[in-house]
Amino acid sequence: MYRAYALYIKTITATDARQRWADVFSQAVGARWPVAIARGGDEHGLLIGFDEANLVLQPYAFSTEVFFETDAVSIWVPELDLYGRGATFEEARADLVEEVADYVDEFLEDATLYLRSPNRAAHFPWVLRAYVANATGELTALLFAPPDNGPVPVADA
């Protein structure tokens, strides 16, 4: 049903999307066919599934750096200018994941300000990727994933 619906409409109104929400969601997520939605002529959105979002965001990898101190461990994320810290690597990693999740919340709650900022706007793709990963319980794995052109972990080989 949603396929036929999409064939005839390129952009649908927010009112129409609300009324046909099940079809719209099925098209965007189930059929992987992005849905463009407009409201009032000057507000436009695009509904896509997490899989498609991850595909688009794949180039935005994280390159965390681990610093071993005498009695502590710190982990820096250059893409977001954030760090986690703890007595052990496990503690530092958990602290970093919490810090990234907090920053994602902070960024998206004040997106108008952050997206205008000369040193923050470029964070957006990484923020969005972390947001999707956090929503699916994969944020830790994302932050410590090998580079795409690097070696393959045994479990994935």
């Binding site: 681990v66 071993f68 200018d81 990693r93 000369p118 410590f144 090998p146």
Partner: protein
Amino acid sequence: MPTPRFTELSRFCEIDGWEEVQRGRGGTGDHRRYRKVLADGTILRTRVSHGAGEIGDPGLWARIWRHQLGLETEAAFWEALRTGRPVDRGDASVDPPAGPSIPGWVVAGLFQAGRTEAEIRSLTADEATELLYELWAGERGDGE
């Protein structure tokens, strides 16, 4: 120069006119978060741990004063603490510093492969990466 204590980082934020940011999910967790918006829209952001510990690693501290505090020199941090006056801040977007660190995916991979933190601490980034490659190759049976 020594690395600062978190109480000094907190005092710097107060002197330099940073605002404390509340967490969206409530509470403060183990840290207080501070933010300062510069005239050009640059947003500086850092956090300070509760308690009296210090930022022990010089490499991490270099990243904090450059990227989070937006300072051109480390001396500007200590100068602000000494004088009690806000920083005359230049461009925050400077080149990232080089430093002795190990990629996070390498450390995570070595832990997953059963290596201890003490072992990993003794390695350089190249040594750690090489060891992980060897472990993965060995477990796959490459070259047999």
